[in-house]
């Protein structure tokens, strides 16, 4: 919004609106995605299904990857340091979370002299952004804007198709986002048929819609050191960062699924009691 307000203005937005209208198919123009998409292979996630929980060790590994590799470009602006020790998360202690917060410099102010200043982070702070604004982020990344990680695991998906999308209700499959993120990180490859990028600085990725992504392969085997014996491979990194991002996007999942089980058991018992009461009462008129 801010960009639109400052740089593009009304005319631009009216044009965008008109473009949307065309894309919506009113003029029978096809609403095509940027190109063909390849379905990401489904991974096995500890947090899938009715009893699924985040694996605290995996979230801590994912957090390590985020801190050492991703955080230099990708923000995590909706997550607070206190979230790191909250129920259902990566399972840091409060002291560990505070130490992590203090490792980050957070801008505060203005002070009595009217100056902004930096101080060590507190538990109540959110993760500071790597760039002061979108323009700075684009300038540092060849024109591309590295997306904020906070909601990405819920903001990425792929089409499940018929009839799979119906089965998903029963199987409770909700992991398109993490599957896609894992696939993206492991999906860097040589372009098929020697295709050339549409503009320089793009990289071929099997799973990115349209295949040409601005981000170079961000992580290599062995780049992040694991101390718990987990293999330090890109495949494993992909799973761990995707799990971490799912937690960042849905931090209350453990509470949600736990509550759901209690609610369903209550409804089952209450429903059964109602059913038999109803039968008893109606038996008089049948």
């Amino acid at each position: 919004m801010t960009m639109a307000n400052t740089t593009i203005g009304r005319a631009g937005r009216a044009l965008a609106a008109a473009a949307a209208l065309g894309l919506a198919g009113l003029s029978a123009a096809p609403a095509q995605a940027a190109g063909e998409t390849v379905k990401p292979p489904a991974q096995s996630w500890s947090f899938s299904g009715p009893f699924g929980k985040y694996d605290a060790g995996q979230l801590q590994r994912g957090f390590k990857i985020y801190s050492e590799v991703c955080a230099s470009c990708h923000a995590l602006s909706l997550v607070a340091f206190r979230n790191l020790h909250e129920y259902g998360g990566p399972g840091f202690t409060e002291d560990q979370a505070r130490a992590i917060a203090e490792d980050h410099k957070v801008q505060d102010g203005p002070n009595d002299a009217g100056e902004m200043f930096e101080r060590p982070g507190r538990l109540s702070d959110r993760f500071p952004k790597p760039f002061p604004n979108e323009n700075a982020a684009r300038a540092a990344n060849g024109g591309a804007y590295p997306p904020d990680f906070s909601l990405l695991a819920k903001a990425r998906t792929y089409e499940r198709g018929f009839p799979t999308f119906l089965f998903d209700i029963v199987t409770q499959y909700q992991e398109q986002g993490p599957d896609y993120i894992h696939a993206l990180l492991t999906g860097y490859a040589e372009p098929k048929h020697g295709e050339k990028p549409p503009r320089p600085g793009l990289h071929y990725n099997t799973y990115f819609p349209g295949h040409w992504i601005a981000m170079a392969q961000p992580i290599q085997d062995g780049q992040v050191e694991y101390t718990d014996g987990t293999p330090a491979t890109v495949d494993q990194y992909g799973k761990d960062i995707a799990a971490f991002m799912m937690w960042a996007a849905e931090p209350h999942m453990a509470a949600r699924k736990g509550t759901g089980m209690v609610v369903l058991i209550f409804l089952l018992i209450f429903g059964a009691l109602l059913y038999f009461t109803k039968r008893r009462v109606w038996s008089a008129v049948h």
Binding site: T2, A4, A14, A17, A20, I169, Q174, G260, V281, H286
Partner: protein, 422 residues
């Protein structure tokens, strides 16, 4: 309607009743009210819908306490609800999924009315009030979807409000007036929030009239035959209908809970977890599932104005349905040809929904046109003609004949198995 209140207050209650007979009113409409004894479980959706309306208003009022209707803060305020408000995730998922559940229930309710001819005399006004509620629900749901200010919120609002620009002459001026500016922006979000808060109370008002009309003319029933003998053919609302409705409601809440607690984003769109950006158009702009059949009709017509008129016409035709269906027989149980066309219509409606989710390319466009044609053909041609030409099965003389097995001049195979409400 017969069988009215037997409420006989004493003491303070009588003193109060003489001054404001509201307890007697509640007693006559929710306790003594006579219910046809042969209703099946499709008749429990009225109660379920009332519950959903109340649930949406309650969760919505609390959400509004935490929400900020301003373009730079709306998306973040919703995320704050999801992350920092106690049980905020539960409130928001209940409200967002609740909208879908509301529509699932209302579609079942409408198709029940279509199947059993519940729109026919003397229930035309009851039916029209229902169509009005449906229209208001769609307006409310559409504006509610804009509030989180995600990509689909913004672009959905842009596409739908732009439809009015198709009106000749005044179209552009109307769209500018709707937006409160020259694009979907802060004034649009503000007024959508105000209206999203207002409309549910208007729905509640019309629901009151809908129930009033229902209690005046009495419920239809699977035979479509009016109640003749209240003593033999009806049961008092409480405890009979109350318990049956309660059981159906608990089953529905269990279904609802499955989505809220286990697949809360299944019915939503991933793009709405990206903050609205007027400079980036999503690859596919798709409305929520409950609008898809109407969206398919909109896109099926090559002219924009034509599409808009057909889309609104698809709902307008429901208003005159009581006069389009010429058959004297209400229930599809005794109308073999109508039954076939009913199921074709239902399948076609689902097909339209699927087509609405597809991009506007071949072969979907051509199929959409056939499907749209059939939607209107069903109402405007099949129903009037069928009522005059169809050979119906013998209708039982009374509900009692149908329920208690004393089948009169009807062959045994003609009347379906007696409705058992267990």
């Amino acid at each position: 309607m017969q069988g009215h209140s037997t409420y006989q207050p004493k003491g303070v209650a009588k003193w109060f009743e003489d001054r404001l007979p509201i307890v007697g009113l509640i007693h006559s409409s929710a306790v003594a009210y006579p219910v046809p004894r042969n209703l099946n479980y499709f008749w429990t959706f009225g109660g379920i819908l009332t519950f959903m309306l109340v649930a949406q208003i309650l969760t919505g009022v609390v959400l509004a306490m935490h929400y900020t209707p301003e373009t730079t803060k709306a998306f973040l305020s919703v995320e704050k609800i999801m992350r920092d408000v106690n049980y905020g995730w539960l409130l928001r998922y209940l409200h967002a999924n609740g909208a879908s559940m509301f529509f699932i229930a209302v579609y079942i309710h409408i198709f029940r009315g279509l199947y059993y001819g519940s729109y026919k005399a003397p229930r035309e006004v009851l039916w029209i009030l229902g169509v009005l509620i449906f229209l208001l629900m769609m307006a409310t749901a559409f504006m509610g979807y804009v509030l989180p200010w995600g990509q689909m919120s913004f672009w959905g609002a842009t596409v739908i409000t732009n439809l009015f620009s198709a009106l000749p002459g005044v179209g552009t001026a109307i769209v500018t007036w709707l937006w409160g500016g020259f694009s979907v922006d802060n004034p649009t979000l503000n007024r959508f929030f105000a209206l999203h808060y207002l409309l549910p109370f208007m729905i509640a008002g019309i629901v009151g009239l809908h129930i009033w009309a229902l209690h005046h003319v009495g419920q239809n029933n699977p035979t479509g035959v009016e109640v003749k003998d209240f003593r033999k053919e009806t049961v008092p609302f409480t405890p009979y209908a109350t318990l049956k409705d309660a059981f159906a409601l608990v089953c529905f809440i269990a279904f609802f809970s499955w989505f809220v607690f286990y697949t809360p984003n299944y019915l939503g769109h991933a793009d709405n977890y990206i903050e609205a950006n007027p400079l980036v158009t999503p690859a596919h702009i798709v409305p929520e599932w409950y609008f898809l059949p109407f969206y398919a009709i909109l896109r099926a017509i090559p002219s924009k104005l034509g599409g808009v008129l057909m889309m609104f016409g698809a709902i307008a035709v429901l208003f005159i349905l009581p006069w389009l269906d010429t058959s004297k027989v209400r229930s599809a149980k005794y109308r073999p040809m109508f039954q076939i066309f009913f199921w074709i219509f239902a399948a076609n409606a689902v097909l339209l929904g699927w087509l609405g989710s597809r991009p506007a390319v071949e072969p979907y466009v051509t199929i959409s046109r056939f499907s749209t044609f059939w939607y209107f053909f069903h109402f405007l041609v099949i129903l009037p003609v069928l009522g005059l030409t169809e050979k119906t099965r013998p209708v039982p003389n009374s509900i009692a004949d149908s329920v208690l097995g004393g089948a009169p001049a009807t062959p045994a195979s003609a009347v379906a198995a007696p409705e058992r409400n267990g």
